[in-house]
């Protein structure tokens, strides 16, 4: 038997003998653990504790990630909007018309567009801005 194969033989031997674990009664397996000077129930609890520690670690990591995302979202909401409401009433009306054209759900609410006053347009634009619904591109 070549020495170079010894590790492979050892691996095969232990693999094969290990398969008999599934054929061994639970009582005999508990007895094995006692023979090692350990408590079988303690050994079971030890494995369950390993599972629990890893589950907890990953849950905490997920929670920390969610907190980071939440904080980033809050921070982004505090940032000034990139899209500003123009001061010129004509540009305000153009932006308003552009906004409702790009937001189909708004179109139905403003059927008589000519009847909306400049003041109402500003209020609507401010609401759209707060909701981050102003279009990015120029009208």
């Amino acid at each position: 038997m070549a020495d170079a194969n010894r590790d492979e033989q050892q691996r095969r031997l232990f693999d094969a003998l290990g398969e008999s674990i599934d054929d061994t009664s639970a009582d005999d397996l508990r007895d094995e653990i006692r023979a090692e000077g350990r408590d079988p129930d303690g050994a079971i609890a030890g494995v369950r504790a390993v599972f629990g520690r890893i589950q907890k670690k990953h849950r905490q990591a997920k929670l920390a990630e969610a907190r980071t995302t939440y904080a980033a979202t809050i921070e982004s909401l505090k940032q000034p909007r990139s899209r500003r409401i123009p001061a010129d009433p004509a540009k305000q009306r153009a932006l308003f018309l552009h906004a409702i054209q790009t937001q189909p759900q708004l179109t139905a609410r403003f059927r008589d567009l000519e009847a909306i006053s400049p003041e109402e347009i500003v209020q609507i634009l401010e609401q759209l801005q707060a909701l981050d619904l102003l279009p990015d591109e120029e009208p």
């Binding site: 194969n5 008999s20 397996l29 090692e36 030890g46």
Partner: protein, 205 residues
């Protein structure tokens, strides 16, 4: 963490964390007991390559790989069988790594293709051979005088099928299985926890 024995699991069959949580909760004490025994047995089989790790370390790495998704659990496979498989691949990975490090005489190596290639040739290193040889010799010495046990041990070490070993040893299926269990138990009772090693391990990677 390296992902020993990584295999691609179809996305629709890869377990979610919630599924793993449920599977863990559903493991019976007997299944947990068997997993602990498999882990402990693999640690014995590693000999010096265990490098002071114990069964709990092995369970830890196997479950971490599963839970992190590095070794996804294919839900078509029973969870117990999956964990048993990961215990095996992690311990095989440790064995390869130990042989590589010992042969290279240096510290940590990742489980790269280079390291795997090195592991294949590391068994030529006398220090590596000594560790594995001591373990095998200790096993055979324990059963000196028990011809049936030696037939089984030699057959298993050579990778023979159980039918062939039974033919050599002149055993039926049930007596053969009983004898295999008895051999494993005798090894445990003999305290073959750490085979004699002549060389300190290279340090854990």
């Amino acid at each position: 963490m390296a992902t020993p024995g990584s295999r691609r699991v179809p996305a629709e069959q890869a377990a979610t964390r919630e599924q793993i949580d449920r599977a863990v909760a559903a493991l019976t004490d007997e299944e947990v007991l068997r997993l602990e025994r498999h882990a402990a047995w693999r640690i014995r089989g590693l000999g010096p390559a265990a490098d002071a790790r114990d069964a709990e370390d092995l369970v830890n790495d196997a479950f971490e790989l599963t839970y992190s998704g590095a070794r996804s659990w294919n839900t078509a496979v029973p969870f117990y069988i999956h964990l048993k498989g990961v215990l095996r691949s992690v311990s095989d990975h440790w064995r390869e790594k130990y042989a590589t490090q010992l042969s290279a005489g240096r510290g940590r190596l990742d489980a790269s293709e280079d390291a795997r290639t090195a592991a294949e040739t590391a068994v030529d290193d006398p220090r590596v051979r000594a560790g594995f040889q001591d373990t095998l010799d200790a096993v055979y010495a324990l059963f000196q005088g028990d011809r049936v046990a030696l037939d089984i041990l030699e057959g298993l070490a050579e990778g023979l099928e159980s039918a062939d070993i039974r033919a050599i040893a002149g055993l039926g299926q049930t007596p053969y299985e009983s004898k295999v269990r008895a051999i494993r138990r005798a090894l445990i009772d003999a305290g073959l926890k750490r085979p004699t090693v002549t060389q300190k391990g290279p340090g854990r990677g």
